[in-house]
């Protein structure tokens, strides 16, 4: 792995569904590569959180996994990237888009704009796959119910809130039974209510071992459910590992990535000589629990 002495990239496991070897990619319109000498393996049945500063290459990585790079988006690349056994350069058309579901940051622009109900929106992809009508209906309704939109089947997609709209996009991927879900900053344009709706849904997906690649600039809501955190900066992997282990390194808390308050409080206390364990708490509840334990330890024994 590259990076300034930060934790090493984890070795590729047998359940790796995507591998990048010395992969460098540059958009046709860009003056610099978006990804540089990337060596990375993404494992199935995990929630991999990709984060880093703006322009770090997070979304580009997500688009490679989703099968949008090098085609249809275009650009030049070196090295190799394989997703689900397909070399992205020579993969048959649709091989990846059929297997990877994508949810973008903008809740509304990713709708088809050709449907008049949430049901139609989910059914659209299934119709394109040529499934029998009864199966389309069953799958679409099941997917809508699983994302909590059972009561919204007849609502026009434009009349859904941002959070509902993101859940609808996730429902589309679930209905298609895609084994991998790529979420590209799915809460960045949502209000707190919508954000909580999506976070809760992703937590549910994580609980049933769905393979999720989640891109997020703000780690706030995602750390506790992530199996792995990959930091991309300047198109390179600068850190890779379990979130709690990585964030114990003070060099990652330099403000270039947005970490939750519980992590910064843990780091502040540590600087002041108050140790709350070797790794930071990933949620406020964990922080409170650590503080309580510390209080108990420091209570004078009678």
């Amino acid at each position: 792995m590259s990076g300034a002495g930060l934790p090493e990239t984890e070795s590729l496991a047998t359940s790796t569904f995507a591998t990048f070897e010395d992969f460098t990619f540059q958009y046709d319109t860009a003056s610099e590569p978006s990804l540089t000498d990337l060596n990375l393996g993404l494992r199935a049945d995990q929630l991999t959180l990709i984060s880093g500063p703006s322009g770090g290459g997070k979304s580009t990585l997500a688009r490679v996994v989703a099968g949008f790079i090098p085609r249809p988006l275009g650009g030049s690349f070196e090295g190799t990237a394989r997703v689900l056994g397909h070399d992205v350069d020579t993969a048959p058309p649709h091989a990846l888009t059929e297997a990877v579901g994508v949810v973008f940051d903008n809740p509304f622009d990713q709708l088809t704009a050709a449907t008049s109900t949430a049901f139609d929106e989910v059914a659209y992809a299934l119709e394109n796959e040529g499934l029998p009508p009864a199966e389309i209906v069953a799958r679409a309704l099941e997917a809508l119910e699983s994302v909590g939109l059972a009561e919204m089947t007849g609502r026009h997609p434009r009349r859904l809130s941002g959070g509902q709209s993101q859940r609808l996009a996730i429902a589309c991927a679930l209905a298609q039974r895609k084994p991998i879900l790529v979420l590209d900053d799915p809460t960045s344009q949502l209000d707190p209510t919508g954000r909580e709706e999506v976070v809760s849904l992703v937590r549910t997906l994580r609980d049933v071992n769905t393979t999720v690649v989640l891109v997020a600039q703000d780690l706030g809501h995602w750390l506790e459910m992530a199996d792995r955190l990959v930091i991309l900066d300047g198109g390179r992997v600068t850190a890779d590992g379990h979130p709690a282990t990585l964030l114990a390194d003070p060099r990652l808390l330099d403000g270039r990535i947005l970490v939750p308050r519980c992590v910064t409080v843990w780091a502040d206390l540590r600087r002041r000589g108050i140790a709350l364990g070797d790794t930071p708490p990933l949620t406020t509840d964990q922080l409170v629990s650590s503080l309580r334990n510390l209080g108990r330890e420091r209570e004078p024994t009678p």
Partner: protein, 283 residues
């Protein structure tokens, strides 16, 4: 799984899509999506979408039979009366509203601007009104109106999705069907986007109710973000469509199929256009 979901908006609850065969207990919203579409359950709504579309051609060609406005005016009158009797007067009204600016333009071009050899009905300096020109404008407007009312009646009585499904079932490219559906959604979508931008600008103190120059300034301030956001949206939508199998090869199906019927009538209507065309040419 979906026992609760299926009760939400089953198609059977809405009798406004009579051409639809239920695949299961499919859902369909009564939401008015396209600007044109009017929900209802009249005989015209129940007619197969492609039968209505097939009727547009012979009706339009029939409007050109004869020299003057006689035939198109009769056709127009019959169409309006039929629509009104069928409680679809709103469609006639919509068609006439669509025709109003076109008729005005035709009257100005043929009746006022275009020079004629004959004596003008009235003249004000260089501007003159000519009877020949007015007759030509009237005939052209009546012919156009027949076409407009036929298309409006066909399109306003079928849900865009059902129309698109009917086309795909007959072998029309799903990409073309998407273009039609997206077109039907375009105006409401752009309106929503514009409203959002306008509200954002108003909340930042933009005056949208002031003098004309001030309003024009607001309009320009609205256009740029509207255009930019639309362009950005296009790329994301393209990728989202790819992810939903838009360019997958193979046959398309539909959650709710359109009952196949009226093929003979559709062919007959299209064939009827041929003698009408001959009649229009020779008469």
């Amino acid at each position: 799984m979906a026992s609760r979901a299926r009760r939400v908006a089953p198609l059977a609850d809405h009798d406004d899509h009579p051409d639809v065969v239920e695949a299961d207990t499919a859902t369909w919203s009564p939401a008015r999506v396209a600007e044109l579409y009017d929900i209802g359950n009249t005989w015209l709504h129940r007619t197969h979408p492609l039968t209505k579309l097939s009727a547009v051609l012979p009706l339009t060609v029939a409007g050109f039979v004869g020299d003057g406005a006689g035939v198109p005016v009769i056709l127009l009158a019959v169409a309006i009366v039929t629509l009104v009797v069928s409680r679809l007067g709103i469609i006639a009204l919509k068609s006439l509203r669509l025709m109003a600016p076109m008729t005005l333009a035709l009257v100005i071009i043929h009746g006022v601007v275009r020079p004629y050899d004959s004596e003008p009905l009235a003249a004000w300096g260089p501007i003159s009104v000519n009877a020949e020109g007015l007759a030509l404008a009237g005939t052209t407007a009546a012919r156009l109106a027949v076409f407009v009312i036929a298309v409006t009646a066909a399109m306003a009585t079928v849900h865009p999705k059902i129309f698109a499904t009917a086309l795909i079932q007959r072998g029309v490219s799903h990409k073309l069907a998407y273009a039609y559906l997206a077109g039907a959604e375009l105006i409401p979508e752009m309106r929503l986007r514009a409203t959002q931008i306008l509200e954002a600008q108003q909340s930042r103190g933009f005056d949208t109710k002031g003098s004309l120059p001030r309003r024009l300034r607001t309009l320009f301030a609205l256009l740029k973000p509207l255009l930019v956001s639309s362009l950005i949206g296009v790329e994301m939508r393209t990728l989202a469509l790819e992810s939903r199998g838009f360019s997958l090869p193979g046959r398309r199906t539909a959650a709710v199929a359109v009952r196949e019927r009226g093929r003979l009538l559709q062919r007959s209507l299209l064939l009827a256009s041929i003698p009408l065309l001959v009649l229009a040419i020779i008469w």
